[in-house]
C-alpha cells in the first residue's frame, strides 16, 4: 500500500500513466500501431513517426522547463521557430537546381545565433528591466512572425537543397530520423551540465524564492538571463527541424501554438507552473505523451482545427490535479479511508 502511494505521488506517474493509457487505447483502436518495418536500412512505423515529431517538442520543452522553473514563461517560442526557419531557408536560398547559396552548417549556426539573440532580448526585458515574463515575451510573440515575414519578404521559401531535409528527416544510411539523435544529444547535454555544475540547483532556488536566492549570494539576474537564452537556442534548433521537415520556411504557420504544447508538456511532467522544482525526465515523457495524443486523435479522424478541444480539457485536468485544493481533497479522502480501516 505504501509502495503504491509512493508510485502515485511520483512526478513521473501522471505522464507515464497517460502515455500507457494512450498506447493501450491505440493497440486496440489503430491497427498496426506498434508495427515497425525495416526497409532500405531505415525503420518505418507510427511509433517512429511519433518519436520524430515528438523530438521537436522535447527540445522545445527542455528550454521551457528551465524558464518555468525560474517562475517565468516564454510564449515567444512559436514565433522564434518561425524566425529560425526563415533565416536558415533564406540563407540557403530557394535555387531550383538544388544548390545552396551558403554552406548548410553555417546557415544553421547563423539561424540558431539569431534565435539566441531573441532569447537575449527576452532575458534583457525580464531580468534587467524586471518586466513580467508573460508580458515581456508577448512582445516578441507579436513581432516575431512579422520579423520572419520581413526576412522572407512575406513569401514561403522552399528549399530544394537535399541535405537540408536531412535535419528533420533521415540521413541516408541511418536507421532512425536525425531529429531523434538531436533530441537525445540535447537531453544528454542538459543532463551533463546538471551533473557537473550546480546551475540546475541555482535555477530551482531562484524559482522557489528569488529574494532568498539573492540573499544567499546568487546572481539571480544572470541566471534568469541564461534561462531565456537557452530557451531561444532550443526554439532555434526546433525551428530548423520544423523547417527541414517541410523543406520550406513558412512564417505564418511554422511553430504555430507550439509554445502551448511545450507548456503543456512541462506541466504534464510534474513541474509546477509557478516555478521551483523541475523534472527534465517528466518534461520529456510529457512531450512524447502530448505528441502521441495528437497523433492518436489525427488517426481517429479528428481534424487539426478540432484538436484543441481535447487539448484544452487535458490542460484543465492537469492543472486541477496540480491545484492545492484538489490535492487536499484527495488526501483527506485517503486519510479518512485509513481511519475507517483502522
Amino acid at each position: 500500500m505504501n509502495k503504491f502511494r509512493k508510485l502515485i505521488s511520483s512526478h513521473l506517474f501522471l505522464p507515464l500513466f497517460a502515455l500507457g493509457l494512450l498506447l493501450i487505447f491505440n493497440a486496440f483502436a489503430t491497427p498496426g500501431f506498434f508495427h515497425i518495418q525495416f526497409q532500405n536500412g531505415q525503420l518505418f512505423g507510427r511509433i517512429i513517426d511519433i518519436l520524430n515529431r515528438a523530438s521537436v517538442l522535447v527540445i522545445l520543452s527542455l528550454g521551457m522547463t528551465f524558464v518555468i522553473a525560474t517562475g517565468g514563461i516564454d510564449i515567444s517560442q512559436g514565433s522564434v521557430i518561425a524566425i529560425s526557419g526563415a533565416v536558415c531557408c533564406s540563407l540557403i536560398g530557394g535555387a531550383g537546381d538544388g544548390t545552396a547559396r551558403m554552406p548548410l552548417v553555417l546557415a544553421c549556426l547563423i539561424a540558431v545565433t539569431v534565435c539566441m539573440l531573441c532569447g537575449v532580448w527576452n532575458g534583457f526585458l525580464v531580468s534587467t528591466l524586471k518586466i513580467q515574463p508573460m508580458v515581456a515575451t508577448l512582445i516578441l510573440m507579436t513581432a516575431g512572425r512579422g520579423i520572419a515575414m520581413l526576412i522572407t519578404a512575406g513569401q514561403n521559401v522552399p528549399v530544394y537543397y537535399t541535405p537540408f531535409t536531412y535535419i528533420g528527416n533521415t540521413i541516408p544510411g541511418s536507421p532512425l530520423p536525425t531529429t531523434i539523435y538531436l533530441a537525445i544529444g540535447m537531453v544528454l547535454l542538459v543532463v551533463l551540465v546538471q551533473k557537473k555544475t550546480s546551475v540546475g540547483l541555482f535555477i530551482q532556488t531562484v524559482g522557489i524564492n528569488s529574494k532568498a536566492a539573492h540573499g544567499s549570494g546568487l546572481n539571480v539576474n544572470s541566471i534568469v538571463f541564461l534561462v531565456y537564452i537557452f530557451s531561444g537556442i532550443c526554439a532555434g534548433i526546433a525551428g530548423l527541424m520544423d523547417a527541414s521537415m517541410i523543406a520550406a520556411a513558412d512564417p505564418n504557420n511554422a511553430g504555430l501554438n507550439m509554445e502551448l504544447d511545450a507548456i503543456l508538456a512541462v506541466a504534464l511532467g510534474g513541474t509546477l507552473l509557478s516555478g521551483g522544482k523541475y523534472y527534465i525526465s517528466g518534461s520529456i515523457i510529457g512531450a512524447i505523451t502530448i505528441q502521441t495524443l495528437t497523433t492518436t486523435l489525427y488517426a481517429l479522424g479528428v481534424s487539426s482545427e478540432q484538436l484543441p478541444v481535447c487539448k484544452a480539457l487535458v490542460v484543465i485536468l492537469i492543472c486541477l490535479l496540480q491545484s492545492d485544493k484538489v490535492k487536499r481533497l484527495l488526501e483527506q479522502r485517503s486519510y479518512r479511508k485509513a481511519v475507517d480501516q483502522a
Partner: protein, 330 residues
Amino acid sequence: MSWIRKNILGSRYFSFGITVTLFLLLYAVGMANYRGFLKPQVFCNLFIDNAALIVATIGITFVLLIGGIDISIGSVVALTCMTIAQLLDKTNLSAVTVTVLALAMGVLFGLLQGWLIAEFNMQPFIVTLAGQFFARGLTAIISRDTIDIVNPAYTAVASARIYLAPKAFVSVGAVIALIALVIAALVLKYTRFGRNIYALGGSEGSAALMGLPTRRTKILTYMVSGFCSALAGVIYSLIMLSGYPLHAVGMEMDAIASSVIGGTLMSGGVAFLPGTLFGVLIQGIIQTFITFQGTLSAWWTRIIIALLLCLFIVMQTLIVRSRRRIHAEN
C-alpha cells in the same frame, strides 16, 4: 527637476497624456502626407473598423486591472460569430433571441473560467489558454466552413448608417462600442464592484484583509470579460456577416496591446478606460497609414504595434520606479 518628477511623472494622467499626444501626432502626420486624412469619414472609419476591438479592450482592461489575463478573447469572438451564424441558419429563432443567447454563452464562458481561477487558484494564463483552445476547437466542431449570415433583420442592422454630420457616418457596432465604453468607465469609477476591482488589483492580500469579496469580484471580472468578448463577437459578426473558425485570430493580443498603450499597468491596479480607447485608435491609425501608403505590407502593422507595446511597457516600468522613489522621498 524634482518638481517635474512630482507633478508630471507622478500624475495619474501622465500615461494618458502621452497616448493622446501620440494619437494627435500620428493624425497630424497623416493629414500632412495624405489628403484622404482630411475627410471626416476617415476618422469615423477608425471607430467603425475597430468597434469590436474597442469592446474586447474594455473586457481585457477589467481583467488586467485585477492582475489577471484573458487570452481566450479572440476565440470567444469566433465562437460567438459561428454560433450566431449557425443558429440563424438552422433554426427559426429571431435575430434578437440569437444575439441574447450568444451573449449569455459568453457570460457563461467567463463564469467557468473565473470559477476555475478563483476557486482552484489556477493561473489565469493557463485557464484562459485552455479556454482559447476550447472555444476555437468548438467553433471548428460546429462548422469547418464559412457560414454566411443572410437573416434580413441582421443584415439590415449591419448595413445601417448613423449620420453624425452630412458626410460622416458610423455603424451600429461603433455606437454599441462607445456606449459600452461609457458604461464600463462609469462602473469602474462609481460602483462598489469597480472600486473592488481597483482594490483587488492594487493588492489582493490587502483587499482580502479589508473584507472585500475577492473571490466574487474575480469571478465577476472574468464574467465581464466573457460578456465583452461575446459583445465584440456580435459586432464582429455585423462586420463580417459570417461565421468562420479562423475569425479574429490573435485579437486578444491586439486588445492587450491597446490596453497597455492606453495606460493600463499589466501588473494590475492601474487603468484609465478613455486611455484604452486611444490605444485602439492608435492601432487603427497605423493600419490606416499602411492602407494609404499602399506599398507596405500588412506584417508591418504587427511589428510597429509590438514596438509601441514594448515602448509603453518600458515606459511604465520606469514610471513605476520613479513613483516609488517619490514615495520614498516623501
